[in-house]
C-alpha cells in the first residue's frame, strides 16, 4: 500500500499533468503486476464492490476516535470528504504494514458477504495498520468514490511510457468487459495476441466544440450531421452475438432488447458508432423518455412500446472483422450507407442523415433549426479523417446551439466536495410564481474560483436557516442559468426539470424582482419540451 499511497500523494501534490504522468509511469515501472492491474482498474472506473455501508463506517470511525457521531458528522461537513474525514479523526495507528494494494483490496473484498461483526473487526484492524494517507486510500476503496485528478487518458499515457507500447493500442486493450478477476497484467497489457475478446469496443472518437466554423476552410472538405441528444453507443456484432457499449464503457445490451436482433441482421464482425434515441417513427423523442429506459436494467413491455429505441448510426469502425478506423471518413460512411441499405426495412438501425449545405451560412441556417429537428446542434467531421482515439483537435467538431437561459434567484447553498470543500458551490435556484419563489433547479458549475470565494463569504453572513449541510440564504443574488433542454417533471415542485443546468453568469446588475417567472419557464417547456 505504501507505493500506491506515495503515488496518491505525488499526484495530489501537483496540478502539472507532466508530473502526474511521470509519477504514474514510475509507479508502473516499480509496482508488482497485481498492483499495476488494480491501479489500471481503479483509474478506468473499475472498483471493487462496496463492502461496507458508509453509515457503518461513520459509526465505527466515531467510536474509534472516541467522539460522538454528531461531531463526526459536523467534521465531515467541514472537510467535505468522507474517506478523508475518517482518515483524519482516527488516532495514530499502533502497527505498521508492508502489505500491498492488492492485499488490502482482497481484504475488503473478502468481507463483502460477512456479517457486521467480522466486517467491523476487519476494517478496524486495517485502520490500525495504516498511516493517514494509506487510510485515505483504503477508505476511498471502501466508499467507492475513487477520483484523484487522473483521467483514464493520463493513466494510459503513463502506461504507454512505462511499457513502451503505443498509447492508442493500450487504450483499445483497456476497453470493454474485464476486471482484475478475469485477466492478468500480462494478458491485458503485454500478451502479443490477447485472447480476443469478442465484446471489446474501440475507444470512442470525441469532438471539440467550435464557435465559428468559418475558419475550418472550404465546406467541401467536411461532412455535417445533426448532433443528437441521445446516448452515444457502439454496437458490436461478432461471433453471433451483439454487444452495446456506452461512451462510459458500460455494457448496456440488456437494456435495449429491440436491438438484440442485430446479432442476426448484421454481418459477423461489424462495429457501428452512433446515437441511441427513443424514436416516434419519424424523429427522436425527448431525452427524458430515453432516460426512463436507461435507469432500468430490464425493460417492461409497456415502456418498450411507448419508447422504442433505435440507433442513428454515423460511423462504421469494423467490417467483416477488419478494423476500418484508419480509412478516411468518406469511405467509412459509404460502406455504412450500403450496409444499412442492405438491411431489413423494419431495422432498428438508421443512418444519421447528412446535412447538405452549399456554404457555411446555409449550414449556419440549418443549425438554427436544430431544436425543431430534436437535435442540440451540428457535428462537423473532416471527410478525409481517420477515426481517432479519444478527443483529438482538428477533425471532429461539435457546433452546438446556444443554450436556453433564464434569470433565477439563489435560495439555498451547500458546500462542495473535494477541491471545493469549504466553498459554497452547490446552489438551488428559484423563479417567481406570484409573490412566491419556487425552486426549479440546482447548479454547481460555471463560476470562477474567485466568484465562489466571494459568494461563500456572502452565504456565511446571510444564512437564514440551516437544514443539515444546506443553508437557506436571503433571496438577493440573481444568476443567469443556462441549460440544454427542458422537460416536464411531476417529481419537482415546479413541475419542470432542466438538462445540464449551469451558471452562465452572476447577474450583479439585476435585483431579485427582475428574475424570471415560472410562467416563462412553462412557455419554454411548451416550445422546446
Amino acid at each position: 500500500m505504501k507505493g500506491f499511497a506515495a503515488l496518491f500523494l505525488a499526484i495530489d501534490q501537483t496540478t502539472r499533468t507532466s508530473v502526474k504522468v511521470a509519477a504514474l509511469a514510475d509507479y508502473f515501472n516499480a509496482a508488482p503486476d497485481d498492483d499495476k492491474l488494480w491501479t489500471i482498474a481503479l483509474f478506468s472506473g473499475r472498483r471493487p464492490k462496496r463492502a461496507v455501508t458508509t453509515t457503518r463506517l461513520r459509526d465505527w470511525a466515531a467510536e474509534v476516535a472516541d467522539i460522538p457521531l454528531w461531531l463526526f458528522e459536523d467534521s465531515y461537513s467541514i472537510v467535505g470528504d468522507l474517506a478523508e474525514t475518517i482518515a483524519l479523526v482516527l488516532p495514530p495507528a499502533h502497527h505498521r504494514s508492508e502489505s500491498s494494494l492488492s492485499h488490502w483490496i482482497n481484504v475488503l473484498r473478502s468481507i463483502s458477504d460477512s456479517n457486521d461483526e467480522v466486517r467491523k473487526t476487519t476494517v478496524l484492524a486495517a485502520w490500525d495498520r495504516l498511516d493517514t494517507t494509506e487510510r485515505l486510500v483504503f477508505n476511498k476503496l471502501l466508499t467507492g468514490g475513487f477520483r484523484m485528478g487522473v483521467s483514464q487518458k493520463l493513466m494510459t499515457r503513463a502506461l504507454a511510457q512505462a511499457t513502451a507500447k503505443p498509447e492508442a493500442e493500450l487504450a483499445h486493450r483497456l476497453m470493454g468487459d474485464w476486471s482484475p478477476d478475469t485477466t492478468s497484467f500480462a494478458s491485458l497489457i503485454e500478451a502479443d495476441d490477447p485472447a480476443a475478446d469478442l465484446s471489446r469496443p474501440y475507444p470512442f472518437c470525441l469532438a471539440h466544440g467550435v464557435d465559428d466554423p468559418d475558419s475550418l476552410g472550404p465546406l467541401t472538405d467536411w461532412q455535417a450531421e445533426w448532433k443528437w441528444d441521445g446516448i452515444r453507443a457502439q454496437v458490436i456484432a461478432r461471433g453471433g452475438a451483439v454487444h452495446i457499449w456506452s461512451r462510459g464503457e458500460e455494457l448496456m445490451t440488456d437494456r435495449f432488447p429491440e436491438l438484440a436482433r442485430l446479432a442476426v441482421d448484421l454481418p459477423d464482425g461489424t462495429v457501428l458508432d452512433g446515437e441511441l434515441v427513443a424514436w416516434d417513427g419519424a424523429s427522436p423523442l425527448p431525452f427524458a423518455i430515453l432516460q426512463k429506459r436507461i435507469t432500468r436494467k430490464t425493460v417492461p413491455k409497456k415502456l418498450l412500446a411507448e419508447a422504442p429505441v433505435i440507433l442513428l448510426a454515423y460511423d462504421l469502425l469494423e467490417s467483416a472483422g477488419r478494423d476500418l478506423r484508419a480509412a478516411p471518413l468518406h469511405q467509412r460512411r459509404a460502406m455504412l450507407d450500403s450496409l444499412l441499405a442492405a438491411g431489413p426495412q423494419d431495422s432498428p438501425l438508421r443512418p444519421s442523415p447528412l446535412i447538405q449545405s452549399a456554404n457555411w451560412d446555409s449550414l449556419r441556417h440549418s443549425r438554427s433549426q436544430a431544436r425543431d429537428m430534436k437535435a442540440e446542434g451540428v457535428m462537423i467531421k473532416r471527410l478525409s479523417s481517420p477515426y481517432h482515439v479519444g478527443r483529438k483537435r482538428g477533425d471532429w467538431w461539435k457546433w452546438k446551439l446556444d443554450p436556453l437561459t433564464v434569470d433565477a434567484v439563489m435560495i439555498y447553498a451547500q458546500a462542495g466536495h473535494g477541491r471545493r470543500a469549504n466553498l459554497f458551490t452547490d446552489f438551488t435556484f428559484a423563479v417567481w410564481q406570484g409573490n412566491e419563489l419556487v425552486p426549479f433547479t440546482k447548479a454547481y458549475s460555471g463560476l470562477t474560483d474567485a466568484e465562489f470565494t466571494k459568494i461563500t463569504q456572502w452565504v456565511r453572513r446571510n444564512t437564514l436557516q440551516r437544514f443539515g449541510p444546506v443553508r437557506q440564504v436571503t433571496p438577493h443574488h440573481v444568476f443567469e442559468i443556462a441549460f440544454e433542454g427542458i422537460q416536464e417533471s411531476p417529481r419537482h415542485k415546479s413541475g419542470i426539470a432542466l438538462r445540464f443546468p449551469r451558471m452562465l453568469r452572476w447577474r450583479q446588475d439585476k435585483t431579485v424582482d427582475q428574475a424570471d417567472t415560472l410562467d416563462h419557464l412553462r412557455e419554454m417547456l411548451a416550445q422546446y419540451g
Partner: protein, 340 residues
Amino acid sequence: MPAPVLTLTDRGLYCAAGDFYVDPWRPVDRALVTHGHADHARPGHRHYLCTDACMPVMRHRLGNITGETISYGEMRRIGDAQVSFHPAGHVPGSAQIRVEVAGEVWVVSGDYKTEADGFCETFQPVRCHTFISECTFGLPVFRWQPQAVVAKQINQWWATNKAEGRTSLLTAYSLGKAQRVLHLLDPTIGPILTHAAVENTNAVLRAQGLTLPDTTRITPELDRKAQSGALIVAPPSVLGSTWARRFGPLSTGFASGWMQMRGVRRRRAADRGFVISDHADWPGLLGAIRETGAENLFLTHGYTEIFTRHLREQGYNAHILATEFGGEEADDTPDTGETA
C-alpha cells in the same frame, strides 16, 4: 457564583477590579497584551503591558508605544487585581494572562500551542477557575504530527527541488511561523533567502538572543542566478506574484495547520502544503483545558460552536465568547460554523 473577573465589552475583555483590558480591539487606557500578532496587539492604546520577550516585536510593529514589560511568572498588582504572564508556546514572547481577583482566578490563553518546538518558550498549563481558550483548530480532524516529522518533509522537499534545479519558495506568516520554519531547516542543503517582511522580524528576534540559521535578505541588487538551490522564506501573499516569478523555476510550499485538509491544500496556489501550526491541535486543546482544572470555559476564535457543544457534553460549563480576534491564519479559515 463570584463576580466575573473579566467581562466582554465592545472594546474587548475588561477587568473592572484592575481597570484594564486584555488584548482590546479598540483604543483603551491600559492594555495587557498576550502576543504581537495584529489581531491581539492593536495600535492606539495609551499604555501597554506585555512580556519582556514580546516588547521588541510590539515596538517593531506598532512603533514607539508607551508601556512596560513583565517576566514570565512575575506577580504584579494592578488595582484590586493580581496579574501574571505565563508561556503560551505560540510565538516567542507569547503569554497566557492570569488574572486573580479576590481568590477567583481567570486565565486568558491568547493563542497557544502545546507541543514544545525548541524555539519559543514552552506552554505551561495554569490552574484556574475560568479559562478563556482559543479553539482555532477545535475539530477532531486536526492532529499534528511531531515537529521532527514535518521538518524532515520540508528538508526533503528542498533537497529534491535543488536536485531538480528548482528554487524552493516556502511561505509562512512573517512573525512566528516563518522563524519556526527557519529553525527547522537544514542549512547544509543550500542558501536560505528571506523576504524583507520576514527578515525584519528575524532581526528583531535575533537582537533579543534567539538563534536562527544564517539568512540572506532579498534585495533588488541580489544576484538571483547565483542562488541556485536556495530556499526562500516569504509571507503567503507572494504566491503567484511577479516577485516570486523572478526566481525562475519554483516549487512552492505553504506551512499552515489548514494544510491538514486536502480541499484547502489544493485550493491554495502552492505545490506542497506542510501541516505545521502554532496553534494547539484537537488533543492539545482538550489536554490544555483539562490541565487548567477550570470548570468554566469561554471559547473564542475558530470552531467555537462545535467545540463548545462538545465540551458541554463532557461536563464543562462552556460558552462561546464573541471576540474580534481573527487569527493570523484567519484568511484560510474554512467555514467556522458561525453565521456572523
